[in-house]
């Protein structure tokens, strides 16, 4: 495990801050219709971000390259890349896949954690491989290279069902440098937006560009992220 570079601090996200950032996030999501909700657990006071979206996926492999745009607009969520196959493909069976993404707070690591799962409409869950197959080719390189080989399947802490989890143990490692840098410029950075935009694409979740412009009321104090204890 690598040590922090001198001068680079670990940014731990306090739960209160987590909720504030989520609130900001939800607000923007509502504005642009991005479908995120804040859900609370009945028993515990915990809440989490949740998004469900459906993706239509073609099962055929070959497609005509110069289709008219109808196909593109109908299946805007399809991340399958057009390949060079010249065979005119007739659309075979279409599948509808239901994706769920949850962002929970981990008090032990003091960072947000991404839980996700996908299933067909008949309830059959997708395996991790099947999920990754739907991820655009350019992201697939990240799957092999990124600091997230620790995707595990765990029981959702609030819902009790199996979800895939992007393990939080290295979140601080890749978040700290950019947060440190951002902090130096007195920038209010929404931790959730920064983090989710980084890890999301790896599991097929993209944040629209407008999230980059989320700029809340300017406040004079620069500690938008919790400082380390030491």
């Amino acid at each position: 495990m690598s040590c922090s570079v001198a001068g680079e601090e670990d940014f731990f996200l306090e739960e209160k801050r987590f909720k504030q950032y989520c609130e900001e996030f939800i607000k923007h999501s509502l504005q642009i219709g991005d479908g995120w909700e804040w859900k609370t657990s009945k028993d515990l006071g915990d809440g989490y971000l949740s998004k469900t979206h459906f993706q239509v996926r073609n099962r055929n492999i070959a497609k005509e390259r110069n289709n008219d745009n109808i196909e593109q607009t109908l299946f805007t969520d399809v991340e399958e890349s057009l390949d060079d196959s010249q065979v005119a493909g007739v659309c075979a069976t279409e599948e509808v896949i239901r994706y769920e993404y949850h962002v929970l707070y981990s008090s032990s690591y003091q960072v947000p954690v991404l839980y996700f799962r996908a299933c067909f409409l008949d309830g059959r869950p997708l395996t991790l491989d099947e999920i990754w197959k739907n991820v655009h080719a350019c992201y697939q390189a990240r799957l092999l290279e990124g600091p997230w080989d620790t995707i595990t399947q765990q029981e959702h802490p609030l819902l009790g069902q199996p979800y895939f989890v992007l393990h939080p143990c290295r979140t601080n490692e890749f978040m700290s440098p950019i947060l440190t840098s951002s902090q130096k410029q007195n920038r209010h950075t929404n931790y959730i937006i920064l983090w989710l935009s980084t890890v999301g694409p790896v599991v097929g979740l993209n944040l629209p560009l407008s999230y980059a412009k989320v700029a809340p009321e300017q406040n004079t104090n620069a500690d938008s992220v919790e400082r380390p204890l030491s």
Partner: protein, 128 residues
């Protein structure tokens, strides 16, 4: 193609001088004096390193608008001779990581100022 910017770039005749000189903006929305007849094919990008990521000797690049973030990542990784196992992230406004298939032209339109788009890049070690 990504070209260096320390010489007057061959791609953009008429653009000259040091960065930030007014009136020589490339395409984009910041050109003084109205809309350009034709948007230039490339935009100026300034790359800044974050943390202990190596600093690029050449920081300013003219990048064609349709180049994606992933393409830029690949380019920087090659330029810095990073290992395949190292991951590189790119941030805009130091607050958001654009999707890998996001085009730099779009980012320039949204976040460029003073004729350039500033992007921060950060490397991180893969699990080893």
């Amino acid at each position: 193609m990504i070209s260096r910017r320390h010489d007057p770039p061959k791609l953009h005749p008429g653009t000259a001088g040091p960065e930030g000189s007014p009136g020589t903006e490339l395409g984009g929305g910041t050109a003084a004096g109205g809309v350009n007849a034709r948007p230039s094919p490339a935009v100026d990008i300034l790359l800044k390193a974050v943390g202990d990521t190596p600093i690029m000797k050449t920081k300013k690049w003219a990048v064609e608008r349709t180049r994606t973030i992933q393409g830029l990542v690949d380019f920087i990784k090659k330029f810095l001779k990073l290992m395949a196992s190292e991951q590189l992230f790119i941030y805009v406004n130091q607050s958001f990581a654009p999707s890998p298939d996001q085009e730099v032209g779009t980012l320039y339109e949204c976040f460029g100022s003073d004729g350039k788009l500033v992007l921060h890049y950060c490397k991180t070690q893969a699990w080893g």
